[in-house]
């Protein structure tokens, strides 16, 4: 009975929408991060199969590129939703506001970033400090004085005597990638902060602090291996001495070839990322254009599908695709926010 009511109302809605704006776009247009892309596309596909709406068109433009397209303005030639593998920046929010775009922030889940190596090699047990010392362009002087020197470490053993005597060789994404940004912020800065005198710089000179913590060495120890994570996995298999940086879902799918390094006592597993005990994980967002929600057919239903338990829940189909779900309370809070269509006014608001 319920289903019938739903079907009739959906049909009526579609007809009403198509008549009200006969020239309007009849599909949802989504842009944004390539990390969120696998999840938005999964929801898009299920949504179109279960309803009478057209399949949303999902473009993979990168987080920054997506924000640009999204904040261009309101109207059917602009995107309805953008995916982001980091939170919206103040500058982007300002751009959106300038163009009259009200955004609704929807945190959808987490993504873990792993440092993995071939299964034939031993599992590394690293701390974020080890990662920072091994990969930063400039590191604190090993003699203990509060100065910076060009990174002198050649092997992992140099960094930390407990680690194997293997040349430092890390394959990772280029600076244009959101994964690289997140890695620099979560892993490297996390280790960098452990030096009190560097951490003290954060308040005095934010730019200097950022450049110390985020700059990756350029002497060949860090190898930019392109945006394609499958390629990194293949290179790791060919070179057991190297470590690679990529998203958790690629580790999950290639568990026969590579294993993830333990970071600060936590191996990258579904549970450790969901519990937030694995330190290198980042939130994933979608941003929705409020003004489009009632104009583009299917927007509200699409959001309802995305925030339903069968999609983003602990046993939902997105978890199966490698997205780590939010804690239950947080999920309920976000879903409520989406139903009420509360726009984001400033970044302080959580």
């Amino acid at each position: 009975m319920n289903k019938r009511i739903l079907a009739t109302s959906l049909a009526a809605l579609t007809i009403a929408a198509s008549q009200a704006a006969s020239a309007a776009r009849d599909h949802i247009s989504i842009v944004g991060s390539s990390t969120v892309y696998p999840f938005t596309t999964t929801v898009a596909e299920r949504f179109s199969r279960a309803t009478q709406f057209k399949t949303p068109v999902v473009e993979s433009t990168g987080t920054g590129g997506g924000m640009k397209l999204f904040c261009q303005g309101v109207g059917e030639s602009t995107a309805d939703i953008t995916g982001a593998s980091r939170r919206i920046k103040q500058s982007e929010l300002d751009m959106c506001k300038e163009n009259g775009v009200d955004v609704i922030e929807v945190q959808v889940g987490y993504d873990g970033i792993v440092l993995a190596n071939a299964k034939s090699a031993e599992t590394y047990k690293l701390s974020r400090k080890d990662i920072f010392l091994a990969l930063a362009k400039e590191v604190p002087n090993p003699d203990g004085s509060e100065t910076l020197v060009a990174n002198p470490y050649k092997t992992w053993k140099d960094v930390n005597p407990a680690l194997p005597n293997v040349k430092i060789e890390v394959l990772g994404p280029p600076p244009t990638s959101g994964t690289r940004d997140a890695f620099a912020e979560l892993a490297m800065e996390g280790g960098c902060k452990k030096f009190d005198w560097i951490a003290a710089k954060k308040d005095q000179d934010k730019n200097a602090y950022k450049s110390i913590c985020h700059n990756v060495r350029e002497d060949g120890a860090y190898i930019e291996a392109g945006e394609n994570d499958n390629l990194i996995v293949n290179k790791l298999v060919a070179n057991p001495n190297a470590l690679g940086i990529f998203g958790f879902s690629f580790l999950d799918q290639n568990a026969d070839k590579v294993h993830g390094s333990v970071i600060e006592g936590h191996a990258p597993t579904f549970d450790s990322i969901a519990e937030q005990s694995y330190p290198v994980s980042r939130p994933l967002f979608i941003y929705v254009k409020k003004a489009h929600a009632s104009v583009i057919p299917g927007m509200k239903q699409f959001l309802a599908e995305f925030t339903s338990e069968r999609a983003w829940g602990e046993d939902g189909y997105l978890a199966d695709k490698g997205m780590i779900p939010l804690p239950t309370a947080k999920r309920q809070q976000v879903a409520k926010n989406v139903r009420e269509m509360n726009a984001l006014s400033n970044l302080a608001q959580k």
Binding site: H27, T40, A44, E59, S60, T61, G322
Partner: protein, 428 residues
């Protein structure tokens, strides 16, 4: 003048003959070595792609006995609505449970449900909608297995253990049992050719991308060929040779070498932002690729016109033909094979482009097969790019399979260009 006797000359020539022959051999050897290197590279590429991609043409399928039980489906009276919203997932689950009756715990049941593709209920929906008389009856059907199961089954060919990363012992034992009873086999993967993109590898196909490529190329051909030929004819047959035409010629040659992403940016600025054409549409893709292939077509068409000997023009004019008659009746038919070759090569180039399409929104997830030039669409190379970037293991072989399809199209196009030239070309 030095006086050399014939014998001395002969002696000197013979002295150098050995080294000249050696140099000759070396020269030829270098040529052969270059070709061998090229052939080796092509062979390496093909073996790699074919060995990786051939697996995608088969798909593990599971046979299930499906009962269209109205009680499970929740159908009280048969109409279009009830058939659309019926609980087909429940029917698939019932069938799986009937096959493995000793599965009892909740987690085991959940796992059992992931044995077949999530597309199975929709297959049943389409079937029952087409044949409502099946309601209440039982039939045996084959369903695509889930991609993890498919990857596992295929990996069993390489090693006895197989790839068990995402397959539990439980699942492996079910697979074994199905295999023994003949209810699990690898069948030809028709889905790959009939479906659009999907996040589930076992349901993903290249149809939408193929149709998108076709529509985009149609727009490109319809625009670039007439414009290119008209421009070439004017420049060759009518235009005076002066600074202006020199400038135009330099510019055309320059445009042929501009990186294709620049045309994408141009397309974004002009067609989408200024003319407000829809994003992701083959129409805009075709327009952008037209800009990109025009220089190629103009240059090759001009070369074809140039190769028609002036005596033909002079003879026609001598018979009192007008300029237009000379061109349309005599020069153009003779130059046509060369022009067509240029057009086909231009089209083959356009078929392989992704960069300019990024800016205009054709690097996108498209499930629905586009029905016209303004529907959202993507193209084959973009589909390959998107699959290559996907985490799911089963997409690795699909990526290579899509490359094989793209390569075969390119080979057909380039071969027809060569054939056309061989067949129609006239020499003077």
């Amino acid at each position: 003048m030095t006086d050399l006797t014939q014998a001395q000359v002969r002696e000197r020539i013979e002295q150098r003959l050995g080294s000249r022959h050696r140099k000759e051999k070396l020269f030829r050897g270098l040529g052969i070595a270059s070709i061998a290197f090229g052939v080796f590279a092509v062979l390496l590429l093909f073996t790699d792609i074919i060995s990786k991609g051939s697996g995608a043409f088969v798909q593990t399928a599971v046979q299930l006995e499906i009962t269209y039980d109205p009680a499970v489906l929740g159908i009280e009276e048969v109409n279009e609505e009830s058939l659309t919203w019926a609980n087909f997932t429940g029917v698939v689950r019932e069938a799986l449970r009937a096959r493995f009756p000793d599965v009892s715990s909740r987690s085991e049941k959940r796992e059992l449900n992931t044995l077949v593709s999530t597309g199975a209920p929709f297959t049943l929906r389409d079937r029952l909608q087409a044949n409502p008389e099946l309601l209440g009856k039982t039939e045996t059907l084959w369903f695509a297995a889930d991609d993890d199961v498919d990857t596992f089954v295929k990996s069993l060919d390489d090693s006895a253990e197989g790839f068990r990363g995402r397959t539990s012992d439980q699942m492996a034992s079910w697979v074994q049992s199905l295999k023994e009873s003949g209810q699990l086999e690898k069948r030809f993967n028709t889905t790959f050719f009939t479906n659009g993109d999907s996040r589930e590898p076992e349901q993903a196909g290249i149809r939408a991308a193929l149709v998108g490529s076709l529509l985009t190329l149609l727009v490109t051909l319809a625009l670039s060929f007439p414009i290119g030929v008209a421009a070439a004819i004017y420049l060759e047959e009518y235009a005076p040779k002066n600074r202006w035409t020199d400038l135009i010629e330099v510019n055309i040659n320059n445009l042929a070498a501009v990186p294709s992403i620049v045309f994408g940016l141009l397309g974004l600025a002009i067609f989408i932002n200024f003319f407000e054409l829809p994003r992701s549409a083959p129409l805009v893709g075709g327009l952008v690729l037209t800009l990109m292939t025009l220089p190629t077509i103009i240059i090759s068409s001009r070369a074809a016109l140039k190769s028609v000997p002036p005596s033909i023009r002079e003879a026609a004019m001598g018979m009192g033909a007008s300029r237009m008659q000379v061109v349309l009746h005599h020069v153009l038919p003779l130059a046509m094979p060369g022009m067509l070759t240029g057009a086909i090569i231009g089209m083959a180039q356009a078929l392989g482009e992704t960069a300019p399409l990024l800016m205009i929104g054709m690097v996108a997830f498209i499930v629905d097969v586009p029905g016209g030039i303004t529907d959202p669409a993507t193209v084959l190379p973009v589909q390959i790019f998107l699959w290559a970037d996907s985490p799911e293991r089963a997409f690795v072989e699909r990526t290579s399979a899509a490359i094989m399809v793209l390569l075969s199209f390119l080979i057909v196009m380039n071969a027809s260009a060569v054939l056309l030239r061989k067949k129609l070309e006239r020499r003077w």
